[in-house]
């Protein structure tokens, strides 16, 4: 039975990862000036530089991140999110079971555990849809399926993004589950309505902070190995598109932004000194930059 479930999870993972296929990079062509064009400086104080650009079309998708852990109580714990699933050495690792408050009191299992993304980035967030996920809460089994845990356990999740170099909260949720001695695994589902200010934002990273609290009853362990995940609504490509122009400098040290109009772009630059020149153009989309196009021309009197 467990093997069947595992196989199904792997299949689901493949489908979701396939949906996040890397989009083709942006590209650009230059139609003005034309190759070898001679431009009179006297008649043209400015040169019209124009062309066409192509960008990947953003399509709605969902990116699934699995909660993974390489160890439990070792220097190699490394809790993290990954778009790929697999067997985790830290599967079922418990949180800190030390802060029991009085007889029959609750255990704040601590120290929350952060799961920062290790791959799947950058990600263009679709904040119009809900982040959903499942935390597999596990109870200590005496003799499977008989467990020692009993009582209401609360699972809190807090999601944060790395956006433009700063930490920005995406949102949070808290769910409670009744743990009984007859069950060892509790898939706790959660839903987060993302921070609207991050809609269509290109994120450099995300972090899921998980916090478990409840009666000290041998419960509060988190299942990994594909049993816990978070689905993040996203776009297949960034909405941030631009075309940059550079005169005689293929390294684009001081790029000039062009005006984009659909698939066309244009910009007027001051006519340079007499002689041969090369104009370069390149398109950017999100954090990606396409190959530069170039066109040579000559400025005459």
């Amino acid at each position: 039975m467990r093997k069947l479930i595992a196989a199904a999870l792997v299949s689901a993972a493949v489908a979701l990862v396939a949906g996040t296929a890397v989009a083709a990079g942006p590209s650009v062509t230059i139609t003005s000036p034309t190759a070898g064009q001679r431009i009179s400086a006297h008649r043209n104080p400015y040169i019209a530089v124009a062309g066409a650009a192509s960008f990947a079309a953003p399509a709605g998708q969902t990116t699934r991140f699995y909660l993974r852990r390489n160890g439990c109580g070792t220097s190699n714990d490394d809790p993290h999110l990954s778009v790929t699933s697999g067997s985790d050495a830290g599967d079922g690792c418990g949180l800190v079971l030390t802060s029991v408050v009085g007889a029959g009191g609750t255990v704040d299992q601590g120290a929350s555990v952060d799961y920062p993304s290790s791959d799947g980035m950058p990600l263009t967030l679709d904040a119009s849809r809900t982040v959903t996920g499942t935390i597999d809460l596990e109870s200590f089994g005496i003799t499977d399926p008989v467990a020692a845990g009993a009582g209401v356990v609360t699972v809190s999740v807090d999601m944060e993004a790395l956006y433009q170099g700063n930490g920005v909260q995406i949102g949070s949720d808290s769910q409670s589950v009744l743990v009984t001695p007859t069950q060892t695994s509790y898939p706790v589902t959660f839903a987060i309505q993302p921070n609207g200010a991050l809609d269509r934002a290109d994120l450099s990273g995300i972090d899921l902070r998980v916090h478990v609290e409840g009666p000290y009853a041998f419960s509060g362990y988190i299942g990994n190995s594909g049993k816990s995940w978070v689905d993040v609504p996203s776009w297949s490509a960034s909405f941030a598109q631009s075309v940059q122009v550079s005169l005689d400098d293929p390294s684009f040290t001081n790029p000039v932004p062009a005006r984009l109009d659909g698939t066309s772009w244009s910009v007027a630059i001051p006519t340079p000194a007499l002689g041969s020149h090369t104009v370069y153009a390149r398109a950017t989309q999100g954090f990606g930059t396409g190959a530069a196009a170039s066109q040579s021309f000559t400025v005459t009197k």
Binding site: D114, P116, M121, P122, E160, L162, G167, D202, D207, F287
Partner: protein, 361 residues
């Protein structure tokens, strides 16, 4: 009453100053002024040499070190200029990771954060704590100023090869190269932060000696071959030490607090250098130090890690605790407070981080 306390403090400072000068006459004292990490605050090996012969216990972790500071006769940085040197950040092997949307030479945004902080600290109430301290020139007290711009410049030095386990001498040599790079002539008011990338750091920091950073002052006896009179900071990549050097010590979010330690530690060092650029050096009986107490603790040392409980409670709930300040760019920067002789009715306390004790000077 306040006047009496002030008079007593002045008298005590004068006595201590005299005692310190006598005790050190004819000797050359030197060591960098360390900033212990949060778990090594009381480590005897990291304490400054006491000015006087009175044995004093190390400070208690998480609490201010009492007793006001005194002036020891050296210069201060009246109109400070802070120069940032990111040595080797763009050299091969400087980092073991990249981050989408971030430069390869600064994948965590640490260099950008430190640069923004230095640009934004000028004119803040936090930096203004130091304006109560002065140097005496020809019998006149010249007070430290708090201009809106203390940023001297930034240099990404990817030309001079860097390596791991740097020595203090190599850092001093890099500081001298920075003096030449920036064309600095006013060394008295200038300081140089030698910031190191993730994989190439100073040897003592790497060894787990227990400090996050230190600052020092070049003298021929301690940094042979290096131009004398350069105030510089050894600023390792403190994120390597995690929460011990401030990660998430003020801001709890994984990303929001990841860089907390950089501005806390950097702020500690640059403000200590402003008030004590001579780093307590005593050369041939002449005290080059500015302001510190009789135990050798500077304005940053006395308030390091106040209120910090490794995440158990917010440090800003403790007077003088670590906290965010608003820079002159309107953005938030986590810092530690700084010792203010004027606070608490002249008794002195940690101030400037927005969580001062009710009575401030």
């Amino acid at each position: 009453m306040t006047k009496r306390i002030l008079l007593l403090c002045v008298a005590a400072a004068a006595l201590l100053l005299a005692a310190g000068t006598t005790a050190s006459a004819g000797t050359t004292l030197h060591q960098p002024i360390y900033m212990p990490d949060a778990s090594h605050v009381g480590d005897p090996a990291l304490q400054p040499p006491p000015v006087c012969c009175v044995p004093v216990a190390p400070p208690v972790a998480g609490e201010p070190a009492p007793v006001n500071m005194a002036y020891f006769g050296g210069h201060v940085q009246v109109t400070p200029k802070i120069y940032l040197v990111f040595w080797g950040w763009g050299e091969p092997g400087a980092f073991d990771h990249t981050t989408p949307g971030m430069p390869t030479y600064d994948p965590d945004g640490a260099a950008a954060r430190m640069t923004a902080f230095i640009k934004a600290m000028g004119g803040t109430k936090w930096a203004g704590v130091s304006t109560q301290y002065y140097e005496t020139v020809n019998g006149q007290n010249v007070y430290i100023q708090n201009p809106s711009n203390v940023f001297g410049g930034v240099w990404y030095d990817n030309t001079d090869p860097i390596h791991d386990n740097l020595s203090g001498l190599e850092l001093a040599q890099e500081a001298q190269r920075a003096v030449a790079h920036f064309g600095v002539t006013d060394l008295a008011n200038s300081q140089f932060v030698i910031a190191q990338p993730q994989k190439y750091n100073e040897a003592g920091f790497n060894s787990g000696a227990g400090y996050c950073a230190w600052h020092d002052y070049t003298q021929p006896t301690t940094y042979p071959g290096v131009q004398p009179g350069i105030s510089f900071t050894n600023m390792p990549y403190v994120l390597n030490m995690g929460s011990s050097c401030g990660e998430n010590s003020v801001n709890s979010g994984y990303y929001a607090g990841r860089l907390d330690g950089f501005t806390i530690v950097l702020g500690h060092e640059v403000e200590e250098t402003i008030t004590d650029p001579g780093a307590e050096d005593v050369v041939n009986g002449q005290n080059l130090g500015g302001w510190y107490d009789y135990s050798g603790y500077e304005n940053g040392d006395k308030c390091a890690w106040v209120g910090y409980t490794e995440g158990l409670a917010s440090p800003s709930t403790v007077p003088g605790g670590l906290n965010n300040i608003t820079g002159n760019d309107g953005k938030q920067y986590p810092v530690q407070s700084l010792w203010s002789n004027d606070s608490a009715g002249g008794a002195g306390y940690c101030a400037g981080a927005g969580d001062d004790v009710p009575v401030t000077g």
